[in-house]
């Protein structure tokens, strides 16, 4: 006689306690391609399922805040390059604006416009890398090649502007290191055309890609409430449906003059975070085009900031007063009045905050750096458990963090 037995998942589920093995502890990182730097995740696994995730950070801690207390304001600019080292220009600008606010300086329009261009190019650069490695982590190699091609062009533009491709150190308290080079804006315009084509290409490669959708859609959704409770900022907050962007809500450096939209997600899952970044690149191009069209003339540094910004080189060589001023500024640093200020700028990864406390003089009493990547990683213990081990690469890629800023 033939006997049949219907197999269903329910049978296994009913025996789950009996079939359950030991939990396994697994260290992912500190050196792992998907942890984008030296991050270690201490995971507790039940088979392939994560039941606990404890991020271990600090491998890249250099004590930037302590170092800042021991050097003049301008000497610290190169250290800001090394926070979010994928968007050093945006860090330079955020730091300079924070200290200038404390000094009560008003920047001329040209300086502000150049800084906006810097910030948006940094955003494009950071998002291109973020999207490229995100795609690579989920198994799509080609996108990385396309986005890095565009980043290479960006680096050439940065080199022309600042003299360095990677660690730009472009801003100074009270201005910039130099004015725009001849014809640079036209070359940025050409870049803008190219990057839009690349983004469209990435769009066609990924947005309807079955594998990519499978690996990102519905993975690790962050609700509005959770995002706010953990203090997420930037694209990660907006992907969760909170329409908050410091460029619109707390405009700085003349952002109120430019027209752009804030992309906002609905579900806050890994796919939404991807979509938000894609649209932000397009909006950044939109801002860049407006900056190029309306670039004001005039001074590119605060001319009235005698005790803060270096006098022009030609005058240092020919005039006694400027020579003394230059000497004092280089040896003692820009003179910033006593007080405290907290300034946040909308950086590619989220709000980069500087809390500067000054007792007067050329050295900050305390310089606190609030890095958005630190915050983005702090949410991992809340969103990773319940997902599979393979989802972690998608989650990390979608949060787009950088350890230089997290560990400082």
């Amino acid at each position: 006689m033939k006997t049949t037995k219907e197999i269903s998942l329910g049978d296994i589920a009913a025996r789950s306690e009996e079939l359950r093995g030991e939990n396994m502890t697994l260290n992912m990182g500190p050196s792992h391609p998907a942890t984008h730097g030296v991050l270690r995740l201490s995971l507790e696994l039940d088979g392939d399922k994560v039941i606990k995730c404890d991020p271990v950070i600090g491998y890249l801690h250099r004590g930037d805040e302590k170092i800042a207390e021991n050097m003049t304001y301008n000497q610290f600019v190169p250290y800001t390059d090394r926070l979010d080292y994928l968007a050093p220009l945006a860090n330079n600008v955020a730091y300079a604006i924070a200290v200038e606010k404390l000094a009560g300086l008003k920047m001329p329009e040209r300086c502000e416009a150049i800084r906006v261009a810097c910030c948006e190019m940094a955003r494009i650069s950071s998002h291109l890398l973020g999207l490229g490695v995100y795609a690579m982590d989920t198994g799509a190699w080609t996108v990385f090649m396309y986005t890095f091609n565009e980043r290479e062009k960006l680096y050439t533009l940065f080199e022309e502007l600042t003299g360095a491709r990677f660690t730009t150190s472009y801003t100074r308290i009270g201005g910039l290191t130099r004015d725009l080079p001849e014809g640079w804006l036209q070359r940025v315009e050409t870049f803008c055309d190219g990057v839009l084509k690349t983004i469209d290409e990435v769009d066609r490669l990924l947005t309807r890609n079955g594998i990519f959708l499978e690996r990102t859609e519905g993975i690790a959704p962050i609700s509005k409430e959770l995002a706010l409770a953990y203090g997420l900022t930037g694209p990660n907050l907006r992907a969760s449906g909170v329409a908050f962007d410091l460029r619109k809500d707390k405009p700085y450096s003349g952002y109120e003059k430019y027209e752009f939209d804030i992309p906002v997600g609905t579900k806050g899952d890994c796919f939404d975070r991807y979509l938000v970044r894609m649209e932000e690149v397009r909006q950044s191009v939109r801002i860049l085009r407006q900056v190029i069209k309306t670039m004001p003339g005039g001074a590119w540094y605060a001319e009235d900031a005698k005790k803060i910004f270096l006098p022009p080189k030609a005058k240092i060589m020919t005039k006694m007063e400027e020579l003394i001023q230059n000497f004092m500024l280089v040896t003692e640093g820009p003179q910033i009045p006593a007080g405290e200020i907290y300034f946040e700028a909308e950086n590619p990864k989220g709000s980069l905050g500087f809390y500067v406390v000054s007792n007067g003089g050329g050295v900050p009493y305390r310089l606190r750096i609030h890095g958005p990547s630190f915050v983005s990683l702090s949410i991992l213990p809340a969103i990773v458990p319940g997902n599979f081990l393979t989802d972690i690469t998608s989650i990390l890629g979608s949060l787009d963090f950088v350890m230089g800023e997290c560990d400082r």
Binding site: H61, K66, G231, E332, Y342, G361, V363, I379, D407
Partner: protein, 195 residues
């Protein structure tokens, strides 16, 4: 924000007239209650930042600075709380994001957060004996045992202070003094070799 409502509800709160945002010195025992009140009643729904401070000349010298942001009203508020016996109540039950910030403040300043769910170090390793952002901690660092004991047992390695010769060069601070700039940390320089 409604300053009057805050100071009426928490009478020990002092308005410090901050230059960039409303700033209050709060009684540290009330810190968590004030943060909760500001979140629930005044819309400060996002913890922008929480950091430790070493005020050096004040007693007590340690304190906490909290920056809150209202995403709806687009405004910030700053709270200063002085530590009592190096501790303040945790706000991580109200803003879970404060968990890591408080761990960092403990790590860097030795501030204890009463009721914190996970009071471990975060940036330095667990056995590290000092709190490096305190003002009495030297920039170069202090020699401590190597974190990996098995490596240290074989190599005899320790974590050494950083060489300070050559910089960083700063003035002594304050108003333009006319003094020559010099390295702030003078425990080791050209005349005095490293002990």
């Amino acid at each position: 924000m409604d300053v009057l409502a805050l100071t009426q509800k928490f009478p020990q709160t002092q308005n410090c007239a901050g230059q960039d945002m409303p700033t209050f010195a709060v009684n540290s025992a009330e810190l968590a209650d004030i943060v909760k009140y500001l979140r629930d009643e005044q819309g400060f729904d996002l913890l922008a930042d929480l950091c430790g401070m070493d005020w050096k000349d004040r007693t007590p010298n340690l304190g906490v600075v909290v920056h809150l942001l209202s995403t709806k009203n687009r405004e910030y508020v700053r709270l200063h709380a002085a530590c009592v016996d190096d501790s303040v109540p945790t706000v991580s039950a109200i803003h879970p994001g404060a968990n890591w910030h408080e761990r960092e403040a403990y790590d860097m300043f030795g501030i204890k957060f009463i009721g914190h769910p996970d009071p471990r170090r975060i940036l330095m390793w667990d056995a590290y004996p000092y709190h490096p952002l305190r003002k009495d901690f030297p920039l170069a660092g202090i020699e401590v045992p190597f974190p990996a004991a098995d490596v240290a047992a074989v190599t005899g390695q320790t974590v050494e202070p950083a060489p300070m010769m050559g910089g960083p060069f700063v003035s002594s601070g304050g108003h333009m003094s006319g003094a020559e700039p010099q390295a702030l940390d003078q425990s080791w320089n050209e005349e005095k070799p490293k002990s």
